[in-house]
Amino acid sequence: MAEAAVKELEDGGDIPAAIDLRAEYAESGVKDVLEELDRELIGLKPVKQRIRETAALLLVERARRRLGLAHETPTLHMSFSGNPGTGKTTVALRMADLLHRLGYIRKGHLVSVTRDDLVGQYIGHTAPKTKEILKKAMGGVLFIDEAYYLYRQENERDYGQEAIEILLQVMENQRDDLVVILAGYADKMEKFFTSNPGFRSRIAHHIDFPDYTDDELLQIAEIMLSKQNYHFDEKARAVMADYIATRRRQPHFANARSIRNALDRARLRQANRLFETAPGPVDAEALSTIGAEDLRVSRVFSKAKEEQAS
């Protein structure tokens, strides 16, 4: 007994002698988050890789803290850059969950804002507005979508500058209280960071979101439909693949968001078709099948044909 007690003292009370990272990984729930990420998000390989690396770093950092080794709260502010509809907001939500499970933020909620929520309309309006949002985000993640609109180069008296200053101050001084994620299109973000070097130096993780491939988008389309209890028939799937390839070449292509909109319109047409052509009562199968004809009438195809003709 006495020997055991002495040994415990030598170990320094609660400090464990070793930490099993694998067990830690499973216990902290990080494993669940990462697996969910893999399962539910199609594609985005580099993003998942970066998140996994970040999670590993945070896990090791936490283990170091528990062993009493020198540690410093790592800078967790991030920037997500990528084209519209590549899953930035979705990943930010998962990130908040991840950081919460690892104990780097206390609450794990996500406050998603744009310029309008931070910047006021007249002098003296901006600071309270920005602070209000920051307070709301404390203990969680502040997600600023299209962050570059905060800075308007052409107008040096723009109130956005004031919001930026407050943001920078809080990002620096209250690193334990909240994590800021900036998001937006890659080229504009780059410009934004060049004109606001303060942001670049305070952000440790830059994550690029690649565009989805056609195959991935088709998978996404099928997942979106199955979540709403719809499905494609054989022909419709082929038409959808064709649709994706055609839509990509046209302007304002927004990856998954374009697909969602296309599906919404397809559902509309399907409803219309059933309503007008159904000879008698319809069954569940008919109600949940999107046919090729619902997709083929899309404007995307007629436009592509026009272009070919001209």
């Binding site: 307070k135 404390m138 969680g140 209280d177």
Partner: protein, 139 residues
Amino acid sequence: MRITQGAFSFLPDLTDEQITKQVQYCIDNSWAVSLEFTDDPHPRNTYWEMWGHPMFDNPDAAALMMELKECRKVYGDRYIRVVAFDASHGWESVKLSFIVNRPANEPGFHLQRQEAAGRVIRYTTRPYAADKPAGERYG
């Protein structure tokens, strides 16, 4: 003389860490926390000046601590208290309030006796600090 109003006022001053925990407790009970300050410590002075709005939708105590820091910068020489308001139906009142900042020097109260008709004595108290005009009372 140390003013004892609200909760915890017979204890040593709370540290910031302790304040954070108390505030988080309030927030977790979904009470709206806010800050108030005054330089008139009379116990019947119920309505203190508000510092900003009550925080109805901030899930974390860090938000209030940030405001407290600001408030101390401006009114560090006065009394500041945290007020936790329960907005739920039937309560709609303050559930907890405690002082989080006090002046370095608290001169205390003067007990005044007024001799009235017969041998009646009426008592009243007056803070010594109230001799000076508002805003110049401490520091």
